[in-house]
Structures are given as structure tokens and as C-alpha cells.
Symmetry: C2
Subunit: 604 residues, 2 copies
């Protein structure tokens, strides 16, 4: 197995220099932290990942979480992740002190979790979902529920989940049928089936606290009639004793990848004794859930980028060690007396490595940027600033979730190819990364759904003011880059693409205006691909500006190869990736509507 899964200097450069952690730390809430303390925290997480996550990565794939005799059995490192990780604050980090947290910026928490994901993506989901579930309780539930359930979640003694999907509904939450029936004591009885529940059960948690969407009897149809409940596996009696709450693990889902992260099928109320506790107001459940969505989507993008990151270093290590073939001489032949070259000397292998680096680092920085926006949205004193960063985050969030997931597949596909036949073999790790990442473009809203969100909602946000604001931010980076001789070519390319995006929106908008939403959104996934390249191009330009700045000051701490690597990957992105917008634009501008169902058309 490879020995490196992440480059800590890159993580810190993006966190400290490109995203300027200090501007976040200036906010009142983070007064106890400084650059040094946060970086020490990140170091300690890296050590934890080196020791407790990375060494078990392959083993967890080979010994999948599984259902047996009514419960789910997971790898022992789940306990380490939850309890040791919990005691380090890996679950509680972003929470307030009063709730047992560390009041760390999401940017720092995201950097730390990126490292964990890159080390072993089968583990951070357990802590991440527990954190997310606890956050919903802290934000929206009663003081009583918060005091009863969150403390043990934040220490990792208990787990937490999100229970949305049902067999008949899938992504269509309007069609949820899990029932909540009011009882005389002001609570609810829950009955229904939930599937695809990550971290839904395991032997290392005394309790699992489910945040569950259900429909109170008589509620309006569709998403407006959905309420949010806390439904623990074990409910707490007044004396503190745990009592089984009629939440049964029915089965698990065996999967192509991420096998150590259990996916369960849960049944609520088989014996009519499942208590649920309403969170906030009736019928407002989806709104609460959606307020958590940006954080969850940052986390999925982070995981995908990190998986691709691990795969990148594994293929890079192989390329640096494997001799094969020879350099072509000037008559196009090979000199057999030469030793075989290392494969990293072949341009095609370098192309596959640079492709990976440009996708991995471009997306890592984008994810950190999203986390920074989140921090500024939630911690600015000024409403205008809050709104600004909220809007910017809303604008980029579909890309933050989708680009790392989709480009990650492509990136790892190239990493696997670097290994040739060995890439396909189970003894080598690339095939595992290849399988693991495939879920990212499905869960937490598929690429199709993210694309509809991007084109259908976000591009229209506040009558286009959101898009305008984003454009201005991008233009600021372009202006900075334009002042640098080496970056100005890329600045100009990105600027051209912005113009192209306007042209495309002007072409598509009229369909929406005349009510033909089907046509308007038919190519949303193509638009996502197009727009993602612009956003990641922006991310790279930002990295370029920070890199040139670091090179220009005398006391930069990293060696010149570190910076040269960034500039090369930036060039790669602009020469090999950004031009793909050309073809995508042509698709988007084409009048054909071949994908829309019409009379007498079949797909056969």
C-alpha cells in the first residue's frame, strides 16, 4: 500500500494562505483561537489519521460492515473514530462552548476532516453524521431534547443519523409516508421504513439518535407536510435509564465501495412503541433539514475530493518507483542500452498525474472556500456581510458537492490507469478508491438534482443578483491575476468563459420565461459540467495568485518545488480542462431537444 495519502503543506497553504484563515479568526466567536493553535490542531488530526485511520483503510474494505442476527457489525476502528476522535473534539469542534464544542471555524474543521477522509473514507461518516444530527437538535429542538441527547453524541458515545429516504420515494421527498401519530402525552408514535441510512446501527454505540422526517396525520400533501423528529434507538427514561424504542435494524445494503461505512434499512414502530420527539414546529421539517444541507454538501464534496487525493498520492508513488519503457530518441526509436525509465518520465503518465493533481487540489481549495463562506455567513456581525456570504455559498454549493464527486471519478480512473494491470488488481489500492468514490455523486442529492438546483434555482436566485455577486467575486480574482505576467493568460481565458456563461444563460432563460421548464432544465447536468470548470478555474487562479505572492516574499517557508508544482497544475487545468467548456457550450446552445420525451418517441 502507498505510504502517503495527503500533502499536509498543501492543506495548510490553502487554509492559511489562499483562504486566509486569519480573516475568519478575526470574528468574535473565534477569539480564543489563532493561526498557530488551529494549525497545531490540524497537525494532531493528521497524527490521529496516520495512526488510527489510514492503516485500516484496506482492511475495512476487505471486512465489510454487515448485518447479522438483527444488528450491524462494523470494524473496531469505528469505536476509535467515535470515542478517541470524539474526545479530540472531532465531532464537537464546530459547536459552541456551551454545547460542549470547541468553537472552531468550519474552515479548520473541514481541513481536519479532509485529512481524515483522505486517510480512510469509511470512518469520518460516523462522526460527521453524528455531528450533523446533533447540530439539528442544538439549533431547532427543545432545551430538554438538547440536554438529554446531544452531550453523549458529541463525545462519540452515541451515534446520530439522518433518516430521509424511503423505498418508494428515493430522492422525491414529497412522497415520504412514514407516519407520526400524536399521543396523549404530547409526543408522537412513529411508524415506517427508512432505507440507505448511513451509520444506522453498530455495536460500538449504546444509542443511536435518528433525525427523521415523517408526516403527521392530516398534514398537507408533499414537502409542506413533513415534520422533523428526534427518534432515538433507545429512549431515555426520566431516571436516565435507556429503554428500547422499537427501532429495528431490518437489513443492510452491501455495496460496491465504502464497505466499512454501514448502510442500513431501519424499521420504526413495528411493535407500535416507537416514540418520536418533534423538532421545532409541525410541517417545517424540511426547512430545518435544508438549513443543514449546505454543511452536508460541503462534507460530501470534501469526502470525494479527499478520496481522489489519496488515490493521487498512491498513483504518484507508483509512478515514481516503477521502471518501464524508454524515452524516444530524435529518430523516434528507443535505445535498448538505456535503462528503463521510471514511468513518471513519460508525458502520458505525467498527464494523468497532473490531471489528478489539478482536480484534487482545485477542488480542495474550492471546498475550503465554501467552508470559509459558511464561517463568514454565520459569524459576521454585519447583516450585509452575512447575506453576501450566504448568497455566495448558495451559489457555489451545487458545484462544491458535484465537481469533486464527478471529477473525482475521472481523476481516480486516471490514477488506476497509471498502474496498468496492477490498477485492476485487488492487492493494489487504486481499485478501492475507484469503487469508494462512486457513491459521492449519488448521496446527498444526485448530480442530476444538484444540476437542477444550480440552473433552476441558484442562477435565478434573487432575480439573478446571486449570479451577479458571484461574477463580481470571480472578476476580483481575475483582476489580481491579470497583473501577473505568468497568470494573465489564464485570467483572460477565465474571463472569456464568464462571457460565454452569460451567453448560455441568455439562450436558456427564455425557455423558463415562457414556462417550458422541462426544456430549460433538460441540459442542467451539462450546464453543471460547464459551470464547474469555471468555478474550479477560479479556484486555481486564486491558488495561482497566492502562490505568486508567496514566491514574491522572502520568508516563504516552503521550497520552490512546492510552488512550482502549484503553477504547473494550474497550467494543466487551464490547458487541458478549461477548454472543455467549448464543446459543452456548443451542446448547451444547440436547438435540439432530443432528450425530451415526445409523442411516438421511445428509447429502445
Amino acid at each position: 500500500m502507498a505510504s502517503k495519502y495527503i500533502d499536509l503543506s498543501t492543506v495548510k497553504f490553502f487554509m492559511n494562505n489562499v483562504q486566509e484563515l486569519e480573516t475568519v479568526l478575526e470574528k468574535e466567536r473565534f477569539v480564543d483561537h489563532d493561526l498557530e493553535s488551529v494549525n497545531l490542531y490540524v497537525d494532531s488530526v493528521k497524527q490521529f489519521a496516520d495512526r488510527e485511520l489510514f492503516p485500516y483503510f484496506k482492511e475495512m474494505d476487505e471486512n465489510p460492515a454487515h448485518y447479522k442476527d438483527g444488528s450491524i457489525h462494523v470494524h473496531q476502528q469505528v469505536e476509535k473514530m467515535m470515542k478517541e476522535g470524539g474526545s479530540m473534539g472531532l465531532i464537537a469542534a464546530p459547536f459552541n462552548y456551551e454545547d460542549g464544542g470547541l468553537q472552531l471555524p468550519l474552515l479548520a474543521h473541514t481541513a481536519a476532516n479532509y485529512i481524515l477522509d483522505a486517510a480512510n473514507n469509511h470512518l469520518p461518516g460516523y462522526s460527521g453524521l453524528t455531528s450533523g444530527a446533533a447540530e439539528l437538535i442544538v439549533e431547532f429542538a427543545s432545551k430538554d431534547l438538547k440536554e438529554k441527547y446531544t452531550p453523549k453524541m458529541l463525545t462519540g458515545e452515541w451515534g446520530g443519523t439522518m433518516c430521509l429516504t424511503e423505498p418508494q420515494a428515493g430522492s422525491s421527498l414529497s412522497d415520504i409516508v412514514t407516519k407520526a401519530t400524536p399521543t396523549d402525552d404530547g409526543q408522537y408514535k412513529i411508524s415506517g421504513q427508512k432505507i440507505f441510512i448511513s451509520g444506522g446501527d453498530h455495536q460500538y454505540a449504546d444509542n443511536i439518535v435518528h433525525l427523521l422526517l415523517a408526516r403527521i396525520e392530516g398534514a398537507p400533501a408533499g414537502t409542506k407536510g413533513i415534520s422533523l423528529f428526534v427518534v432515538p434507538k433507545m429512549r431515555l427514561k426520566e431516571d436516565g435509564e435507556l429503554l428500547f424504542n422499537d427501532v429495528t435494524t431490518v437489513a443492510d445494503f452491501q455495496k460496491m465501495g465504502q464497505k466499512g461505512y454501514c448502510t442500513t434499512h431501519l424499521s420504526f414502530g413495528d411493535k407500535d412503541d416507537c416514540q418520536g420527539y418533534l423538532v421545532g414546529e409541525e410541517n417545517n421539517g424540511l426547512n430545518y433539514m435544508f438549513l443543514m444541507m449546505n454543511g452536508a454538501r460541503i462534507a460530501v464534496g470534501r469526502g470525494a475530493s479527499a478520496i481522489a487525493c489519496g488515490a493521487y498520492y498512491a498513483s504518484l508513488e507508483y509512478a515514481n518507483e516503477r521502471p518501464q519503457g524508454r524515452k524516444l530518441s530524435s529518430d523516434g526509436t528507443k535505445n535498448l542500452k538505456d535503462k528503463q525509465s521510471l514511468i513518471i518520465e513519460h508525458p502520458d503518465v505525467r498527464r494523468m498525474l497532473l490531471l489528478q493533481k489539478s482536480m484534487v487540489e482545485g477542488s480542495m481549495n474550492l471546498i475550503f472556500k465554501a467552508a470559509k463562506y459558511y464561517d463568514l455567513q454565520h459569524n459576521s456581525a454585519d447583516d450585509k456581510e452575512k447575506n453576501k456570504y450566504h448568497t455566495l455559498l448558495e451559489m457555489i454549493i451545487p458545484v462544491v458537492k458535484t465537481y469533486p464527486s464527478e471529477a473525482g471519478i475521472y481523476s481516480i480512473n486516471n490514477g488506476l490507469q497509471v498502474l496498468g494491470g496492477y490498477g485492476f488488481c485487488s492487492d493494489f489500492i487504486l481499485q478501492q478508491y475507484y469503487r469508494d468514490i462512486r457513491i459521492s455523486s449519488i448521496y446527498e442529492g444526485t448530480t442530476g438534482i444538484q444540476s437542477q438546483d444550480l440552473l433552476g434555482r441558484k442562477m435565478m436566485l434573487n432575480n439573478g443578483e446571486g449570479a451577479k455577486l458571484l461574477l463580481e467575486e470571480i472578476k476580483k480574482t481575475i483582476e489580481k491575476a491579470d497583473q501577473d505576467d505568468e497568470l494573465k493568460e489564464w485570467a483572460s481565458s477565465l474571463n472569456n468563459q464568464l462571457d460565454q456563461s452569460q451567453k448560455i444563460l441568455f439562450h436558456l432563460m427564455p425557455f423558463a420565461i415562457k414556462g417550458d421548464y422541462e426544456r430549460f432544465l433538460a441540459d442542467a447536468s451539462i450546464f453543471m459540467e460547464f459551470f464547474s470548470l469555471i468555478i474550479v478555474g477560479w479556484s486555481w487562479l486564486e491558488i495561482g495568485v497566492a502562490t505568486k505572492h508567496a514566491l514574491s516574499i522572502s520568508n516563504s517557508t516552503l521550497d520552490s518545488k512546492f510552488y512550482q508544482g502549484k503553477l504547473d497544475a494550474l497550467e494543466y487545468f487551464y490547458v487541458y480542462e478549461l477548454p472543455k467548456t467549448k464543446g459543452l457550450a456548443e451542446i448547451l446552445l444547440h436547438p435540439s431537444s432530443v432528450t425530451i420525451k415526445k409523442k411516438d418517441k421511445v428509447i429502445n
Copy 2:
């Protein structure tokens, strides 16, 4: 599991109408066959695949071939494939009567094997490699070797393999070190290790006949010193008895996919008693092997396209049965009183299905075309015609191997996405197709190697006369399509792309001329991607012309939906795939050489 894995009408339409099987059957060698008999043969293969291959597809993945106690254990259907398949002529079909064959055109054999591959890609490799090994013996070995070894190979009692790869050499055949030492009786003793040997051993063959590359002591360095040997696992004594020939199975390779098709590590001559029989002349081994290469590459492209074909029908079936979500109304909302739509009604799902169909059928027809070229090359009486088809086959063969492999990954990736979360689950079949196809772009020459062949050799073939001939063929199809109102837009698009390809070659050529082969070939894989879109665009235009012709005659046997499906997939390809050449051309024309190793550059 899905119930359909291929559309037999499509196979026959491409074989009979688009590739015009009759023009092949006119050749002297095929005098005993006619359209009807060949189609009946294809029907019988379909029935065999329905009965003996498809039902075991998932089971073979779940019970991988494996090494135990010195030998390899495979699924029982391997015996069915080899012996029942063998008795149907599935191994011997393309051979001459005198060698025990059916003298069937490769076009028919390819259509038949496409069906087998689509049904269960874990099985046809066993028969295919046996056929290939026997072909080498028949073509180049002595009469004695042929009489001793091929009859039982062609009936499927014995297996056959190709032993090229060695641990230290990988794709670099110049570096193979397996030794052949002349003995007093005019034979050779073989000693060495071969890895990644498909079908290298199993319990259902009394003997496995290896065609092995080795270096005779004192031979010139590199590829000019490689000889080809027949090295049976059991050698035949004069009395017909089988005697162990010191070929040991050392281990197997467990893989991400195609798990039922064993991949072995063989050791030759551990006890200094491994006899090898020279095929043809000393040091000419690679030439013999290369003469078989086009057939082998057609077979790999065929397999990849067929795997994607199976995946397409599985995702199509799911999309036709799964209700989820609702159509948007003219105010952009959904009416909850509507029943949920089938997902096949959503444009984004239709896009993913049409994407698959356009890749699967575009590549299927291309593969059939390559097989037809092979038939015309080998069976024309006229040398000029022979040369013409030989050249055309040489020109397209890197694409025939690569496009189905690379686009197949992309196609199945979309098929998996159609199923959402279920696509990632082991109970559903898409994840298996996704894993299985991943080997196709690696074995039989990786995409990188095929791309170097395409740009470095084929584009230069006969000083560019090869490219010119191919261009003329494509132009013929364009001219036909140009006369049809519905096709002329696509004809014109393809013509523009041909011009673009000339421009790119004019840009790249000077690098070769001035001896900078590294730069010339640095973007060969991008050129492959670009050129493949043109070739598959041509394939679709050809399908379009045949479709319009079929619609214009009154007695066409298929219903109009069949033909409409072809025209829609053609439109999809031209609207959504061909435009990608735009971005690729921009990459190819960019002056950057970021992927080429230079002083002080590192990838880190």
C-alpha cells in the same frame, strides 16, 4: 437482475444491413454460407447465451476464480462455454474446414461473440484465447505441432493462452527475459515467469497450450530477439499420452472485476523440464504475434462494447419500471396529485440512456465494420483490395480497441447513475458491469499505447496514404448522408471535424519532423479521444444512411420505433458527443508542453 442484455435486431441490422454481410459472403471462401444460414447461426448463439451464460453472470462475480493448492478453480460454466460452445463451433468458427473450422466470416463470428460478451463477459475469453492460440499454431507452426495440438483446442477440450507479460517488463516487450535454451533434439528448454495470463489454468481442461514469447540464448537485444514457442502444460508423447511439462501455476491475481475469468501467474521450467516448440523462425516471434493483434484488438473492443450493452439494457429496464418525481408544470412546480412519473420520462434520465445507446451502438457497428475489413483483407482475390482493407483496418484498429473501452466506462457510469443509490448496491447488476469493464482499457495494449500507435504510426502509415484512404471512405458516407434532408446537418458537422483533424495533424507533424517525438506524442491520448469521436461519428452516419434506406423501402421488417430509436441516438451523438472535439482540438493546438519532463520540474 435485468432480463435483457442485448437487442438481437440491432445486432442483425448492423451485421446484415449496415455492414452488408452479403458483400462478404460473396467471397469464394464463404460459398457454403448465405445470409439466412449465418443469421440462424447467430440465433443459436443467442439461445446458448440465454441458457448458459447470462443466468450465471452475477454468480461468477460472487464466486471468483481462485488459486488453491497449486491450481486454479473456476466456475462450472467454463466447462459449458468450452465444451458445449466448442461443439457449436464457437472456437473453430473462423478456421478453415481442413483445420476443423466452419469458414465463417469474422463479421459473423464477431456478432456471435458480441452476444456472448454481453450475456456474461467472464466466459468468452476462455474460448477466444484458445481460438487465438490455435490460430497462431495453424498459421505459423509446423504441420506436426498443428496436428498434435489444435484439434482438441478447437473442440474446447484443451485451452490456449498468450504468454507475453513478465513482472519486470509489463507493456515493454523489449525487456522480456524468459529464456529458451536449445537442446540436442532440436527443441528448447523454457525457463521464466509470466504474469497476467488470462485463462492460464483451470480444472476443466486436460491441457492448456501456451503460446509464449521468450528469448533464445544469444538473441539480439530488444524486440528483434524474441521468439514464439508452443509450450503446453502437458506435452504429448509419441504414443499420445500426456506428460507434465513443468508448467506450474504459482498464484492468481484477484481483481476488481471480471472475476470469473481467471488471471494467473505461471512459472515455466522450475524443474528444468519444460519443453518449448519454436513457431516459425527464430527471433521472429513478435511479428507472428502482431499478425494476430488486429483480431485480438477487435475482440477486446467487442467485449467492452458488449459489457456496456448489457449495462445499457439493465439501466433502461430500471428506468422503465421505477416511478419517481413528477413532470414540471408551466409555472415550474410539480402537481402532487399527479402520480409519480416513471424516471424514463425525465430528460436527464433520457439523456443518460441516450448517451449509453449512442456509445454502445456506435461502437458495436464500428466493431462489426472492423471485422468486415478483416474479412475483406483476408478473403479478397485481388491484391489491391486486400491492401485497401488491410490499410483501413490498420487505421481504425487503435480506435476499435480504445473507444469502446474508454467510452464504455463512461457509458456504464451513466447507467449506474440512472439507478441512483441502488446502482451502488451489490444486489443490483450495474456495479458489476462498472467493475468488469475497467480492465478493457488496460489489457491488449493500454489506451496510452493504442494512442501512440494511432498518432505515431497509423497517421504516418505509408507516408500518410493510410490516413488519406480512410478520409476518402469517410467522405463517401458523408456524401450519401448529405443527400438526405434529415442527415445532412450531421454530414456537414462530420465534414467540419475532418477539416479540424487535418489542421491538428499539420500542427503536430513538425514536431516529428524535427525529431521531437516526445512532444509530438505527448498528447496522443487527447488525439485518440478527438479522433475516436470522428470515427464513431462516421459509424453513426453510416447507421443513419442504412436506417433511412430501410425506412424508404416498403418491406422493411422492423417496426418504425426501431428505426426512430436509431435516428434519435444518432442525433444524440451529434448534438452531445461530437461537439466535444471542439475542446479537444483546442488542447491539441495549445503550445503548452506542461506534461513534458523538464529540468527542475517535479510532480508533487
